[in-house]
Symmetry: C2
Subunit: 261 residues, 2 copies
């Protein structure tokens, strides 16, 4: 696109990132890249795209947004795509039995703008076209983004869902007031990777202590536990402290005696 | 989509209508229908679609929103598509030399919600894919809708542009407060058809009086004139009054004598 001489410079916000979880059609990935750049977002992550990558169909649909596609980080595991994020929001229309805050697009945009301004690295994930994300995937998020869709016809095209958020983010970017519920950057928040390591550490030790009983309830119990810590929005320091707590509680624990707690 | 028993009923707002001006690809028309219904809008109008209509490609992409496509009004002239509308907003990214209010999507949504609540029939028009609307087409609007796009990459996919507005409208629908700058329905606003008739009457009489001089400036002069009356948002009664004014001013005017004013 040619730019008039008096036009402001292009917007390119490295954060928030958009993460597509198991996207199916290359056309949709390209359409997402295009609408991201339309509204000034450039960081795209793909988790286990169904088709080979790079995908020529994505490039055709992206039109001029090939830089977004070329810069996309592709990971096979969701954990890896979220590793350096400090605030994760999952877009989902279906109600889930998860204790997480539910935000509209405007609220999400305001919070993510404030988070970015505070040096955080927020990310919004969108599920695959037909089915949406698995509950275990949504469970990794700090909050849920829900769009005000028609209950009789709720299934949004992937790029249209990203468009609604990206538009709301562009609006928020233009606003002056920034809610400041985010802590200052001297106390940086824990990354997803640090939290994940903490959770795995905790769960391993809990399994050792036969906490997850009955066994078929284990996934639900883990999810609820994670939700508690995600809601707390731990700092790096606090995540370290928690690991110290777990170690301290488990040190010297030998076999699986009933007395170990 | 199956609906859970406790789900609220589907949203289907007859107004505002979405009007696609000279749309090109059937896929885009289908994608617009889908995202309209996603956010509860059902009235679609098409002005001179490039390809034959009905369009099978549109039906494939619309997924479950075929009711929107089937209900679409197709017209060859923009005037006919706008005839019964009382408030027309043109979505355009390019700056135009038109004296019209410029609204963001949120502002447009709030105003259109208030207008609909007051019994008006608002309509938002979107231009063709590559080029956007002609200035003469935009000139028919009461206001301009501009999205906060990246100046370096401003060209939105048609369905994504509609998505941003439709999302903003769905947000506005949920809000309680309704700005009340719209007049009450006892004094209904003039329709586009009534305004158009008034403009044509006025222009005809002005041509008669050699008002449009030099002749190559006539389109611009007409546009500016129209802008004045559009901004005034005439009632039906006022549009009638204006026609009476024109008649009164021109009655008995014979040839093209210099004294006729």
């Amino acid at each position: 696109m040619t730019r008039a001489p008096n036009m402001p410079p292009p917007i390119e916000d490295a954060w928030p990132a958009i993460c597509l979880v198991r996207p199916q059609m290359g056309e949709n990935i390209g359409a997402v890249a295009r609408v991201m750049l339309n509204f000034g977002l450039v960081s795209l992550r793909l988790v286990a795209p169904r088709d080979r990558w790079p995908n020529p169909k994505a490039e055709i649909v992206a039109v001029g947004a090939n830089t977004v596609l070329k810069g996309a980080k592709v990971e096979w595991r969701l954990e890896d795509a979220l590793a350096d994020a400090t605030l994760v929001v999952a877009a989902t229309a279906r109600p889930r039995e998860l204790e997480k805050p539910v935000w509209g697009a405007r609220e999400t945009a305001a919070k993510l703008k404030a988070a970015t301004a505070a040096g955080e690295r927020p990310l919004v994930m969108f599920g695959p076209e037909a089915s949406g994300m698995e509950t275990d995937e949504v469970a990794k998020a700090d909050a849920i983004l829900t769009l005000p869709v028609n209950p009789g016809f709720a299934s949004l095209n992937l790029a249209n869902a990203v468009a609604a958020f990206a538009y709301a983010y562009a609006e928020a970017r233009q606003e002056r007031d920034t809610p400041s519920w985010f802590r200052d950057s001297e106390n940086p928040p824990a990354t997803q990777e640090e939290l994940e390591a903490m959770f795995l550490h905790l769960e391993r030790e809990l399994e050792h202590g036969r906490f997850f009983h009955p066994l078929d309830k284990a996934p639900l119990m883990k999810r609820n536990l994670r939700s508690i810590f995600l809601r707390a929005r731990l700092t790096q320091q606090e995540a370290q402290t928690m690991r110290g707590v777990i170690k301290a509680l488990t040190i010297g624990r030998g076999g699986r005696k009933k007395d170990d707690l």
